[in-house]
């Protein structure tokens, strides 16, 4: 307690500067966790590599504003199955457990390195592994064609990505060459650990009654 001086609001004794600073830091922690609807700070077990993070953030629209009361999410893929020669792989994403949120925009960013001439024809499926031993099921989400290497943003139907209570999303990629030497299988390297790993760009907003209306003050 500061010597002598009185708090201008309540007239009680003021705090010593260090004590006030410690209180302010504690308040800041509470305010941020409340604002993010978190009970405690997240423990990051597998942070994405800084380079991948930087590239992903560069890809998003510069200065894109998070939707009012909504969120933008970048989720990096972990490759669960990838046949070395062909380019069909299964990408697994651990999405934020939705707090009554509604997904309305989804794009899959892929870094493509076709090493064969011709057009790369790519299909994206949602893969549901299924509960029992029997194989799961898959739903076609989108088809794309490209003739150029580099980054590609594949728009996915947000309706196709919603629905499951699980926060784990499996996407299966299947591609082949059109025209040219179609027997060749494109050697498409999926960068799993480096800067060009695939990622999902999502936009969510609160769902539920009246979420879209302006708050009545």
């Amino acid at each position: 307690q500061g010597a002598g001086s009185a708090c201008p609001s309540c007239g009680g004794p003021t705090l010593a500067p260090q004590a006030e600073r410690a209180l302010v830091l504690e308040l800041a922690k509470q305010q941020i966790l409340e604002g993010l609807h978190l009970t405690s700070r997240p423990r990051i077990t597998h942070p994405p590599p800084q380079a991948a993070l930087t590239r992903a953030l560069q890809r998003l629209q510069p200065g894109s504003v998070a939707p009012a009361n909504g969120e933008e999410v970048i989720s990096f893929a972990t490759i669960t199955e990838s046949s070395a020669s062909a380019c069909s792989s299964t990408l697994t994403f651990h999405l934020p457990t939705a707090r009554s949120q509604r997904l309305y925009h989804a794009r899959l960013w892929l870094h493509v390195l076709p090493t064969f001439p011709g057009t790369l024809y790519l299909r994206t499926f949602r893969w549901n592994p299924g509960r029992r031993r029997r194989g799961g099921s898959r739903t076609l989400l989108a088809q794309h064609q490209t003739t150029t290497p580099g980054w590609h943003a594949l728009t996915l139907p947000s309706s196709g990505l919603r629905g499951e209570e699980s926060a784990v999303l499996n996407l299966q990629l299947d591609c082949r060459l059109l025209g040219g030497n179609t027997t060749a299988v494109p050697q498409w390297l999926l960068d799993t650990a480096g800067e060009e790993r695939p990622f999902l760009e999502l936009k969510v907003r609160p769902s539920g009654p009246g979420a879209g209306r302006a708050r009545r003050r």
Binding site: S9, L25, I32, P42, E72, H94
Partner: protein
């Protein structure tokens, strides 16, 4: 609203800049590096009730009510935030996803007497 000086007894905005490094949270909050944690403090004597920190018309309405009802009001008016803005945060969640969100009403910009 005046920013509080050490001796300011009247309603003002007290500014504190909080660096996330100082909280040890720079590993999961990617942007910004910190934010203004401001709060309101100070006295609100009767003639300041509803002071233009909110709106002059509100001030005169409160003032005439005070005069009409009781020159020495029992209740006191308080020094409260009258303008706040959101804080845009980019952070990592526990699964390593990058989340960008605007936290509403996070930064107090102005204070006034209720």
């Amino acid at each position: 609203t005046p920013t509080c000086e050490p001796e300011t007894p009247l309603c003002c905005r007290r500014d504190h800049y909080v660096d996330f490094q100082e909280l040890g949270w720079q590993d999961w909050i990617l942007q910004p590096e910190g934010y203004q944690l401001n709060y309101c403090s100070g006295q609100c004597p009767p003639h300041l009730a509803g002071s233009p920190g909110i709106a002059a018309s509100f001030h005169s309405a409160v003032f005439s009510l005070l005069k009409a009802n009781n020159p020495w009001p029992l209740g006191t008016s308080c020094c409260v935030p009258t303008a706040r803005r959101p804080l845009s945060l980019l952070y990592l969640d526990r699964d390593g996803n990058v989340v960008k969100t605007d936290v509403p009403d996070m930064v107090v910009e102005a204070c006034g007497c209720s």
